[in-house]
C-alpha cells in the first residue's frame, strides 16, 4: 500500500466479533496491539495488549521479506 496508513471507509469487522467469553488458549484478544486497528493507539490499549505488542516487536525474517516483495515489490 502507498503509506503505512490506508483509509478504509468500512467497518473492518462486518461479520465477526470476539465472543464475550473466550474459550481455549488460542482465543483472540478483544483488543490487541496489532495491525488494522480502529483508530486505536498503544496508549488506548489494555496493559496486557501493550505488553504483548512490545514483546512481539518487529523483526523481518527472510521469508517475510520475500513474501512482502512478492506482494508489493
Amino acid at each position: 500500500m502507498k503509506n503505512d496508513k490506508t483509509r478504509f471507509t468500512a467497518d473492518r469487522r462486518l461479520f465477526l466479533k470476539s465472543a464475550a467469553v473466550a474459550g481455549g488458549a488460542a482465543a483472540l484478544t478483544a483488543v490487541s496491539a496489532t495491525t488494522l486497528v480502529d483508530e486505536a493507539t498503544p496508549a488506548q490499549l489494555p496493559p496486557d495488549a501493550q505488553e504483548k505488542s512490545a514483546s512481539q516487536g518487529y523483526h523481518e525474517t527472510q521469508h517475510i521479506r520475500d513474501y512482502y516483495r512478492a506482494l508489493r515489490s
Partner: protein, 204 residues
C-alpha cells in the same frame, strides 16, 4: 458499511503478516457488498509498484483500472446479479456449497466449532453464515493480525476452510457473465491465494 477504519502496518505484527491481513480484509470487504465511492478512492490510492517488479503489480493495476471505470450504481447491480439475484445469484459464495454442493453443510459445522475455539462469533444482526466467502476472508485476516496463532496453525485453518474451495470460487467469479469490476477482484483473489498457499506450505 459504517465508520472509518485506519489500517496501520507494523504496530504489533510483522510487516509481511500485516500485508497478508490487509489483503484478506480488503477481499472480505469487497466481497461483503458493492464498494462505495470512498472504497473506490481507497483502491486508487494503493501503490501498485513498478511494472514487472512483482507478480501482484499487474493485479493491483487491473483492480485500479476497474475502480477508475466503476460507477457505484452499476457496481450495486453487478454485485446483486453475481451474489444475490432473483432467487439466487450467478454464484453461490459459500464454502458449504463448493465443498458439498449444498448450503449449511458439514464444513460450516466444523467452522463454527473452530470459531468458538478461537473466541469468535457472528455479530448481532448478521444473517449470512460464517462460511460466506467474505466472512472467511475477514476471519483469516483477524487470525493473522490478532489471534497469535502460529503460521502452522494459520496454515491448518487455511487448508481446512479456504484452500479447498476459494480458488475455484475466484475462477468462477472471473468467468462469470455478470462480472466486470469483480473480474479484477477475482484476479486479486486468485493470485493472492496462490502466494498464500506457497507461503504457508513453506511453514509446514
Amino acid at each position: 458499511m459504517t465508520g472509518q477504519v485506519t489500517l496501520s502496518i507494523g504496530s504489533g505484527v510483522e510487516a509481511g503478516d500485516a500485508a497478508r491481513a490487509e489483503i484478506y480484509v480488503l477481499l472480505g470487504t469487497l466481497l461483503a457488498g458493492p464498494p462505495d465511492a470512498a472504497m473506490l478512492e481507497m483502491l486508487l490510492d494503493i501503490d501498485a509498484g513498478e511494472p514487472d517488479a512483482a507478480p501482484m503489480t499487474p493485479i493491483w493495476q487491473s483492480l485500479q483500472a476497474a475502480a477508475r471505470e466503476a460507477d457505484t450504481e452499476r457496481l450495486a447491480e453487478e454485485y446483486f446479479n453475481l451474489f444475490i439475484g432473483l432467487g439466487r445469484g450467478e454464484l453461490v459464495p459459500y464454502a458449504s456449497f463448493y465443498i458439498h454442493g449444498f448450503l449449511m453443510e458439514k464444513v460450516l459445522a466444523a467452522l463454527r466449532n473452530e470459531l468458538q475455539r478461537l473466541g469468535l462469533e457472528l455479530q448481532e444482526g448478521i444473517s449470512e453464515p460464517e462460511d460466506h466467502v467474505a466472512a472467511l476472508c475477514e476471519t483469516m485476516g483477524m487470525i493473522i493480525s490478532e489471534s497469535g496463532l502460529s503460521l502452522e496453525e494459520q496454515s491448518e485453518f487455511f487448508k481446512a476452510y479456504i484452500a479447498n474451495w476459494m480458488g475455484e470460487f475466484f475462477a468462477d467469479l472471473r468467468a462469470a457473465e455478470s462480472a466486470d469490476f469483480y473480474r479484477a477482484v477475482a484476479q486479486l483473489g486468485q493470485q493472492f491465494l496462490e502466494i498464500e498457499s506457497q507461503y504457508l506450505s513453506m511453514q509446514a
